[in-house]
């Protein structure tokens, strides 16, 4: 049952008599599923390249809309009938439907449109079941079908492409008019072959991507017939893969170069790549090579070393040999290439980094200037400073943090919290924004600028915080007041200065700002000549700026940017303000990651603002009375800036003392462990929501300080403040003891007995509670874990890691020891069926309690102060992760992307 088409095919229908009829300027196209993912990008390019050949498209539910293209709008209808009722006439249907819809799409097109001549099916993975029906329908209605799983047709002479994306997003670049027709089983190689042929001066007439499903609806036989009848086409390239007998009986009347690939596929037991490229013994690649060799009368494969060919053609097994083979065959036919060869196929390395490894010469090819327009784009890449992250919905997503559900370990910018705990607070703060840890010099620079803004004496923010505290607020609530007053204008001069420094140095070739021998005379001149000088230098004396510069010198820091602003001030007779020192330091800290595009210029510009907030949060944690004009917690400003690390300052703000080595180490561990718990945690949702609400698509308007308020408001007695629960539990156990120093292994307490006695007590309590039907009886904090359970003896690997760290430092903690005795005692007493793990939260509690024990015993702090200290410590640590989330969301997020659609919300009233 088939219509009668061209006479050469009496047994089945073929409508195309010449390749010239394949893709013409007269063809009018309707695209099914025009708004689908692939068509959305491809159709506008095809339409424009082809002079506007798409008359309409369909997309269920989108009737009445249009697709915008440079060649005008394409109207969209719900289905073909609707499009035809609207008066559209077309002879070609292009199908981008999902596989399950292809057969019905074909049937609809055939039934409704009497003018239909061609159907091009782009869809991959059309079931064979549907393909056999489609074939039969095409025959019955007398319509040529192309594909499926193809990239359509293109005619370089007519400048028309129908269907898929042959020639990519710039078809004219690859599809150069010439005399060769390409028939290819591979869509990608259709274009690639056209590009390769141009290197020998051969252009194309038509390019056909046939697809390589089991059913190839427009196959090599139909192509060959039309190829013979196209006067423009002097020769053809056939790119053929194993499987199927489509090419076996072909007889060529014009020269052909056949590229047969896939000998290895004989080993396959199922298709990999093209669905139809799986062969039996008679249609594998070797067999197909033989078919073509017999047709051409050659006895071996053409290679540049062994250029075997005849007037009829040549067989290659590497597409790179196609241009040479075509030239050789055509030479025997006394035919010259279509145009001057363009380029060649030699190796052209566009990007290279050998990482200074001593490579053999052949592995270190020289960089080659890319062909146009890529050369300019690569240059542009050099112009672009910093990374650019594509924007996407960042609801419950983060480019900064992730928690591994298996290990329960959170990573922040690729560093696990366990590793973060081995770094200082200031190092973690810097890394939260720069994504890389600073070296020793970087940490010293950071300490100077962070400590410089800790003292909040005389600020409204500090006063407001104190008033809030006095009103009975929790520490997070009170600190909001101080942060709210760190508005955009406060950090503006520093942000502008960062922008100016980046602009001045971005093309300077400066790689490492720590190396002080960099010659910045050109940048000095440039700065003096323009407005930049006024952003970096002021006329008035700035006391804090001077203290900071002195501190930097006293600490022996090295920074090109600090040297530069100093030199600029000196050259132009001005002063360096504190804000500019801050700007120079953050530019230094972010320079290398900026140059490597790991961070954006936006992050760079926002860094001073973040830094100011870090300082504010730590500073305002201490009561107003601890801030005087000259001192912070009784330490002079000069000393703090020139001699203290920011971790020490945090300890000072929390506990009123400078920590000893052990305390410093413990605090660093503590703060590092709690930097983040992934984007799903409430304290991350807060800042993300705050950024989202400001609209990160206009990132300059995002209020960074409001992000921190979002963080603070999303912590509370249950999240952040709950660390005290474990402390309270331990206090209960140790309150009456004579424990003097929790760090002394010779504490004289019988922990085993304490644990056993409590285990018994707990057993009694638990039994009674259960008997009374109290399901939510009090659980012992910080033991057991939903993941780390089920073994005879269980361990939380995170706790093990930190305990080892502490042990290696010679740091003993009686409370941790007690916890380990307790889990054993609970098992012995029959409370637990196995030995529970001591979880990571216990580590946090015991470190904190150890710090607070002495003042607690001395009655210099109350339990409520201890609770505040515990909560505030959490805020300090989590501030690191917050900075990373705010910055990440500002760089990647979309406006209001954290909202939940109404359909996903539930009403429970």
């Amino acid at each position: 049952m088939h219509q009668q088409g061209v006479a050469a095919f009496p047994h089945y229908f073929v409508g195309i008599n010449s390749l010239a009829e394949l893709a013409t300027r007269q063809d009018r196209v309707c695209v099914l599923n025009i708004t689908g993912g692939e068509s959305r990008t491809v159709t506008p390019v095809s339409h424009t390249y082809s002079g506007g050949n798409v008359v309409c498209g369909t997309a269920p539910g989108r009737s009445g809309t249009v697709m915008n293209t440079p060649k005008g709008n394409i109207p969209v209808y719900g289905n073909i009938a609707e499009a035809m009722e609207a008066g559209h006439k077309f002879n070609v249907v292009v199908i981008y439907l999902p596989p399950s819809g292809v057969r019905d799409g074909v049937l609809e097109a055939l039934r409704i449109n009497p003018y239909l001549k061609k159907i091009v099916i782009l869809t991959e993975k059309v079931p064979v079941h549907d393909a056999r029906i489609i074939r039969s329908l095409g025959q019955m209605y007398g319509v040529d079908i192309f594909g499926a799983n193809c990239l359509g047709l293109a005619d370089a002479h007519n400048r028309v492409r129908i269907g898929g994306a042959l020639g990519g997003n710039a078809p004219a670049e690859s599809l150069r008019p010439g005399s060769i027709a390409i028939f290819s089983n591979s869509g990608n190689f259709t274009t690639t072959i056209a590009v390769y042929l141009a290197t020998a001066g051969w252009g194309t007439t038509v390019s056909i991507s046939s697809g390589k499903d089991v059913y190839i609806h427009y196959s090599a036989a139909e192509f060959t017939h039309a190829f013979h009848n196209d006067y423009r086409t002097k020769a053809a390239v056939l790119y053929i893969e194993p499987g199927g007998y489509y090419e076996k009986d072909l007889v060529f009347e014009k020269p052909v170069v056949a590229c047969v690939v896939g000998r290895w596929k004989a080993k396959l037991t199922r298709a990999c790549g093209h669905a139809g490229a799986i062969s039996g013994s008679g249609d594998n690649a070797m067999a197909k090579e033989k078919w073509f060799m017999e047709k051409f009368g050659v006895d071996s494969i053409f290679t540049p070393e062994n250029p075997v060919c005849s007037k009829k053609g040549a067989v290659v097994i590497n597409i790179a040999h196609l241009p040479a083979a075509m030239t050789a065959v055509m030479k025997l036919n006394e035919t010259m290439p279509d145009f001057k060869p363009e380029g060649n196929l030699s190796l052209k390395c566009w990007f290279s980094n050998t990482q200074n490894i001593d490579l053999p010469e052949h592995l270190n090819p020289p960089l080659v200037r890319a062909i146009a327009p890529y050369d300019k784009q690569i240059e542009g890449l050099g112009e672009q400073v910093g990374g650019v992250f594509p924007r996407q919905s960042m609801k419950d997503a983060s480019g900064a943090s992730m928690m591994d559900p298996k290990t329960q370990v959170t990573h922040l910018h690729g560093t696990s919290v366990l590793d973060a705990s081995t770094h200082s607070f200031e190092e973690n703060l810097v890394k939260s924004l720069t994504r890389e840890y600073p070296g020793e010099n970087g940490a010293m620079l950071a300490n100077v600028v962070l400590n410089a803004y800790v003292n909040q004496h005389g600020t409204f923010g500090l006063t407001a915080t104190d008033v809030a505290r006095a009103a009975g607020n929790s520490p997070n609530t009170s600190l909001c007041a101080a942060v709210a007053l760190q508005g955009p204008d406060l950090a503006k001069p520093a942000r502008q200065a960062v922008g100016a420094l980046v602009e001045l140095f971005k093309k300077s070739g400066l790689k490492d700002p720590e190396k002080g021998d960099f010659d910045f005379s050109a940048q000095l001149q440039q700065a003096m000549a323009g407005e930049t000088r006024n952003l970096l230098v002021s006329e008035a004396e700035c006391n804090k700026g001077n203290i900071m510069l002195d501190a930097l010198q006293a600490r022996g820091t090295r920074s090109v940017f600090v040297d530069f602003v100093k030199a600029l001030a000196q050259e132009s007779g001005g002063r360096v303000r504190a804000q500019v020192v801050l700007a120079a330091v953050v530019t230094h800290l972010g320079w290398k990651p900026l140059m490597r595009k790991r961070i954006t210029t936006l992050t760079m510009k926002n860094m001073p603002w973040h830094f100011r907030i870090f300082s504010t949060l730590v500073g305002a944690a201490a009561n107003a009375e601890q801030h005087t004009n000259e001192h912070f917690c009784d330490v002079t400003n000069e000393e703090l800036i020139s001699d203290w690390s920011f971790t020490e300052t945090a300890h000072l703000a929390l506990f009123g003392t400078r920590p000893n080595k052990g305390e410093l180490f413990a605090l660093s561990i503590l703060l590092g462990l709690i930097v983040s718990n992934g984007p799903g945690t409430i304290s991350a949702q807060g800042p993300k929501g705050a950024v989202s609400a400001d609209g990160p698509e206009a990132p300059e308007r995002v209020q960074i300080n409001k992000g921190y308020i979002g963080f603070l408001s999303h912590t509370g007695y249950a999240h952040g403040g709950n660390g005290f629960e474990a402390i309270a539990f331990l206090l209960e156990r140790f309150r009456e003891s004579e424990l003097a120093d929790p760090g002394d292994p010779e504490h004289g307490l019988n922990l085993k007995e304490m644990a056993a006695s409590y285990a018994k007590e707990y057993m009694v309590y638990k039994k009674r509670a259960k008997a009374e039907g109290e399901i939510s009886y009090a659980k012992i904090p910080c033991i057991n874990h939903p993941i780390f359970k089920g073994e005879e003896v269980n361990f939380d690997p995170r706790e093990v890691f930190v305990s080892e760290l502490l042990k290696n430092q010679g740091s003993y903690n009686v409370f941790l020891d007690f916890y380990h005795e307790l889990v054993q005692a609970l098992y012995t007493a029959g409370v637990s069926s196995n030995v529970y793990c001591v979880n990571i939260d216990a580590v946090i509690a015991v470190i904190l309690l150890k710090m607070l024990w002495r003042p607690y015993k001395d009655r210099t702090i109350s339990e409520s102060t201890m609770e505040t200290a515990a909560f505030t410590t959490f805020l300090f640590g989590r501030m690191v992760g917050t900075a990373a989330e705010i910055d990440d969301h500002t760089n990647r997020g979309r406006n209001m992307d954290t909202r939940t659609p109404a359909s996903q919300c539930s009403y429970v009233g």
């Binding site: 692939e38 990008t41 491809v42 399950s100 869809t123 991959e124 079931p127 074939r135 039969s136 994306a165 042959l166 990519g168 997003n169 290819s184 089983n185 591979s186 990608n188 190689f189 259709t190 274009t191 690639t192 590009v195 089991v214 196959s219 499987g243 896939g262 000998r263 290895w264 596929k265 004989a266 037991t269 199922r270 298709a271 990999c272 790549g273 093209h274 139809g276 097994i317 597409i319 790179a320 380029g343 030699s346 190796l347 052209k348 390395c349 566009w350 290279s352 980094n353 050998t354 990482q355 490894i357 490579l359 592995l363 890319a370 062909i371 784009q377 990573h411 690729g414 560093t415 490597r596």
Partner: protein
């Protein structure tokens, strides 16, 4: 998915009421086997292979027994039998016991889709039970038919007349063979082969066709075979864990075809496009860990997920991560490169850094943005790399990747490790 043997074959044939030999599975008890022997006089003991396995008979993998002791002995011999055919190694997991059907004629019958006719065809001969490729053409009928009307009795009848089949065969086959079209067409098969169908005397001079061996292949892109309710692990053994994990991501948007080439390979190629897949895999040979085709413009999420799986399975042993494709028509290079780069960074974060050399050859939309992103990521990870433009011959880029692999094996890997600070 492919199924061979009567254990599952008989169950599938029951869907369309096609008569089969009597089959017991490996769980059959001694009494059941004894009764089977009692009914048929003799039984065949056949190993059960998962997936498609050919030429079992010629390899001595079909046992015969006319008593329980022999049957049990054959069971023991064949239960875990190993078989190599066409480079495919298979190991049996169990045996079937099948009643030996007495017959005068053995018929070969198959339905498949022919690329010659671009239509479904039946292949039939009454000289069955042998390798049909060895038969002279006049003893074999290959007849195409219209899928819109399906396999009708007259197609079978004409085919049998064409090869001068004995009269007594025609009626029972015309009655029964068209049933198989239902199974073939509506349950997503691409091949269905019964060889032999033994024509058993059924009284009054009539013959009854009983299928005595079964082979079929299903179309991975056709969900219809899922309606058969076959166990999900039936064909799982022919897929590695890696392949199964990637296959779980199989959607129509973007390719995700993978095939393990050499579990000891040292070049892991992320290949884009069916053509590149054919060329690259061929040239890399046994250096390649996998053959892959990730073309078809996969979205970021899918590409990221695929990359993570590939890295998880293959990166540790690889010297070269090879990203290769032609000049893409539609695949967004920025999106795919960003996904691969991000997944690489994630992998290094979770699995730790490792010495690796990255070689890239690609063209297509957003090429430079994509290469730029990958470059920045690789710089950040401290990995050496070279990226080649699409106007470099793909085969030359493959050669380059192989040279790098050779150098890595000859001490380069240690040098890269040193430069990355890995001891």
């Amino acid at each position: 998915m492919q199924i061979t043997g009567m254990y599952w074959g008989s169950k599938l044939l029951k869907f369309v009421d096609f008569p089969t030999s009597e089959v017991l599975g490996p769980e059959a008890s001694g009494d059941q086997i004894k009764e089977l022997i009692g009914r048929w006089g003799e039984i065949f003991v056949k190993p059960m292979f998962k997936g498609g396995v050919g030429k079992k008979g010629k390899s001595g993998l079909i046992g015969k027994a006319n008593n329980l002791a022999t049957a049990m002995k054959e069971k023991e011999r064949l239960y875990f039998a190993e078989h190599i055919h066409n480079n495919v190694h298979a190991k049996a997991e169990g045996v079937t016991f099948e009643g030996a059907v007495p017959a005068e004629y053995e018929v070969y019958f198959s339905i498949t889709d022919s690329t010659k006719y671009r239509a479904p065809v039946i292949t039939i001969t009454h000289h069955g039970g042998v390798n049909i490729e060895e038969l002279p053409p006049n003893q074999l009928a290959v007849i195409p038919f219209d899928p819109l009307t399906g396999l009708k009795g007259f197609v079978v009848s004409n085919a049998l007349r064409k090869i001068n089949a004995p009269q007594e065969l025609i009626s029972p086959l015309v009655q029964n063979l068209p049933k198989l079209w239902e199974l073939y067409h509506y349950y997503g098969m691409t091949t269905l082969e019964l060889n032999p169908i033994r024509m058993m005397p059924a009284g009054k001079g009539r013959l009854l066709p009983l299928a005595c061996d079964f082979k079929c292949a299903f179309d991975a892109d056709d969900p219809n075979w899922k309606r058969l309710g076959l166990p999900s692990d039936l064909d799982a053994s022919s897929y590695s864990d890696f392949e199964q994990e990637v296959n779980a991501l199989r959607t129509y948007q973007g390719q995700s075809d993978v095939f393990v080439i050499n579990p000891q390979g040292t070049i892991t190629a992320m290949t884009f496009g069916g053509g590149a897949n054919a060329l690259v895999t061929e040239q890399l040979g046994d250096s390649a860990t996998i053959s892959s085709d990730f073309g078809g413009n996969p979205p970021y999420d899918k590409m990221h997920a695929i990359s993570r799986i590939v890295y998880k399975y293959w990166l540790a042993q690889s010297n070269v991560l090879f990203i290769i494709g032609g000049k893409a028509n539609n695949t967004d290079i920025y999106e795919t490169f960003r996904a691969m780069a991000d997944a690489l960074r994630d992998h290094f974060h979770s699995a730790g850094p490792q010495p690796l050399y990255v070689v890239v050859g690609r063209g297509g939309p957003n090429l430079i943005r994509g290469m730029g992103y990958l470059r920045d990521t690789l710089d950040g990870l401290g990995l050496p790399y070279q990226m080649f433009g699409y106007d470099s011959a793909m085969s030359e880029v493959v050669n380059f990747a192989q040279s790098v692999d050779k150098w890595m094996k000859a001490g380069g890997r240690a040098m890269v490790a040193r430069s990355m600070g890995i001891s």
